[in-house]
């Protein structure tokens, strides 16, 4: 959108209060949505919960194409459609709700810097793992991405998306990285987040901000998504304060509000059970079964 159009939209946004029927669109939960999109969607949901704004989650197979910028999730509020966390935060701010008003300039700079860190490292690592790691691509991503479409469209779309993501990885210099290097980057990022969080309940002490929502979205998704190997979630599990942080936000903003992210963080017993029914033993037809074992109660 051009700058003039954006200014116009935010004027209109400021005029109306938040409606009751605001909806958030994402891809199909059980069968289609991928790790990175799920993380983004959860981050937006967490942010809206933190602002106390009601939102209804609707799953559509073509959510990616409906979105104005090509990225999920997007929200449909009144007459406007806004996608991605950054613009959504600004849109919500134009309506008069903001989580970061109490921060001074230096803290706002820090918050934006950490949000970029998460986008730069965690999100890119998730995309790399999904689309550039052969094992994951073959077993999980291709099947999930094209699952709502008939043959041959499912293969074509999946290959097209893979080509696009690989181009982007090459352009930013991640094309030549190995999986181990990517996991090391994830570890560094988690270490930085853990050190910044320290023993505080949220990143900026008492009140959560959009940074907390974003970090929660990514970490929770990484911890609860089952991939071909556990290395990614192991990296996050090394940091106990990040685990406690995710638990705290889940409890406070999802369970208590009755929005129930029903599957809580995997306990040891569940992990042993899952390992014994490893993915490789499943027949091919069961790929469409829920990889993400949680359901959102709407």
């Amino acid at each position: 959108m051009s700058l003039v159009a954006e200014a116009f939209v935010s004027q209109i946004a400021a005029a109306e209060p938040w409606p009751e029927n605001a909806t958030l669109y994402q891809q199909l939960k059980g069968e289609q949505i991928l790790l990175s999109d799920n993380a983004a969607s959860l981050a937006v949901q967490a942010f809206l919960q933190m602002c106390n704004l009601p939102i209804k989650v609707v799953c559509r197979a073509n959510a990616e194409y409906m979105s104005p910028s090509g990225k999920v999730p997007f929200i449909h509020v009144g007459n406007q459609v806004v996608s991605e966390l950054g613009p959504i935060v600004q849109f919500v701010k134009a309506k008069g709700h903001s989580l970061s008003d109490g921060l001074d300039e230096v803290q706002k700079a820090e918050m934006k810097a950490y949000m970029e860190l998460v986008n730069n490292m965690l999100l890119t690592a998730e995309l790399y793992l999904q689309w550039c790691d052969e094992a994951t691509v073959g077993e999980i991503t291709h099947a999930r991405y094209g699952s709502p479409y008939p043959w041959p469209l499912n293969h074509i779309l999946a290959y097209q998306k893979q080509w696009e993501v690989r181009r982007k990885m090459k352009a930013i210099g991640w094309g030549k990285k190995t999986l181990d290097q990517v996991l090391e980057d994830v570890d560094q990022c988690c270490q930085a987040l853990s050190q910044r969080l320290g023993t505080q309940p949220y990143f900026f002490n008492k009140q959560p901000t959009e940074l907390d929502a974003l970090v929660f979205g990514h970490l929770y998704t990484i911890l609860t998504t089952q991939l071909t190997s556990d290395e990614l979630s192991e990296k996050v599990k090394n940091y106990s304060n990040l685990l406690a942080f995710c638990r705290r936000i889940e409890q406070h903003y999802f369970e208590d509000r009755g929005k129930g992210l029903r599957l809580l963080l995997l306990t040891n017993l569940e992990r042993i059970y899952l390992k014994s029914r490893s993915i490789k033993n499943r027949p091919n037809g069961s790929v469409k079964m829920a990889y993400l074992r949680r359901t959102y109660r709407e």
């Binding site: 051009s2 706002k108 810097a113 950490y114 860190l117 730069n120 181009r167």
Partner: protein
């Protein structure tokens, strides 16, 4: 370490030791941490490679990207972050990510994509430092790489259009510069009195933007209004890079300075004494 560390990188101009951001980051870090680095400037002979610059060569290792080079130097005990706390180290990573996501697209656009700038300044400069047949190809390839990077990271698939993203990336870059300025405040470096990795990165990204003279300068104008960032760049140039500049003054730089002097002298009738200070500052910078 006994083994000599050699860095090959793009050369300097306009008062900078190097015009290329990544090379400048590595050079600045080496100065801050005291690493003895022998700098081989790429010129238009066929010696040395031009891809993936800057490249650090030791006896048995070749390391290529700035992040990897800095890691290598730290392992060799040249560590500029020794006194930082864990949280400051985390802040460093976060701010570097901010620079790469928000500022880098606009810097790439100013240098490589904006037609006026590219054809009058960047392309001739790089072409003069690349041997003949390659000088027709390589700058074009670097420009396409920059455009690609901007579009793939900021554009909207499947039709990538530059016009849609131009306004957005410049807005983001200005916001990033404001954030850096707030964070720097009035202190000399980002973390106290000693420069660290973050200072090297910020210097590497800002100094070319600040010093290189372009026809289309909207981002440069914005940067010049943030006086603490300009002061930051000038301080580092004066304290750490004076000797490498003062010795040999390229003819091009000398002619720029002569033109500046004439310009100032002609204007001296109308201007006040501030100009005399400018002249003194200019001559100090040139090391005369």
């Amino acid at each position: 370490m006994a083994a000599p560390l050699e860095l090959s990188c793009w050369g300097g101009g306009w008062g900078l030791p190097s015009v290329h951001s990544e090379s400048l980051v590595v050079m600045a870090y080496a100065k801050f941490s005291g690493a003895p680095l022998k700098v081989n400037v790429i010129d238009n002979t066929w010696r040395g490679s031009r891809g993936d610059v800057p490249i650090l060569t030791t006896e048995d290792n070749i390391v290529s990207q700035p992040a990897k080079i800095l890691n290598f130097l730290r392992k060799q005990k040249y560590n500029a972050d020794y006194e930082l706390s864990a949280r400051q180290g985390a802040d460093t990573l976060a701010y570097i990510a901010l620079l790469e996501e928000k500022l880098l697209p606009a810097v790439l656009h100013t240098f490589w994509v904006e037609n006026d700038n590219y054809f009058t300044v960047t392309k001739p400069w790089f072409a003069s430092r690349i041997p003949f047949p390659l000088s027709l190809i390589l700058p074009g390839r670097m420009s396409k790489g920059a455009l690609n990077r901007i579009l793939l990271t900021r554009g909207e698939p499947p039709l990538y259009h530059l016009q849609e993203v131009e306004a957005q990336i410049y807005r983001d870059a200005k916001e990033c510069l404001n954030l850096l300025s707030h964070r720097l405040g009035t202190s000399q470096f980002f973390f106290g009195d000693m420069p660290s990795t973050l200072d090297a990165y910020v210097f590497g990204f800002l100094a070319p933007l600040y010093k290189v003279r372009f026809p289309k300068v909207q981002l440069q104008e914005h940067l010049k209004q943030l006086s603490n960032l300009c002061r930051f760049c000038d301080d580092i140039l004066n304290s750490y890079f004076r000797h490498s500049l003062g010795g040999k003054l390229a003819p091009l730089q000398l002619s720029f300075i002569c033109v500046e002097y004439l310009h100032i002298l002609l204007g001296l009738y109308k201007q006040n004494s501030l100009l005399i200070e400018e002249v003194c500052a200019l001559s100090l910078n040139a090391g005369l």
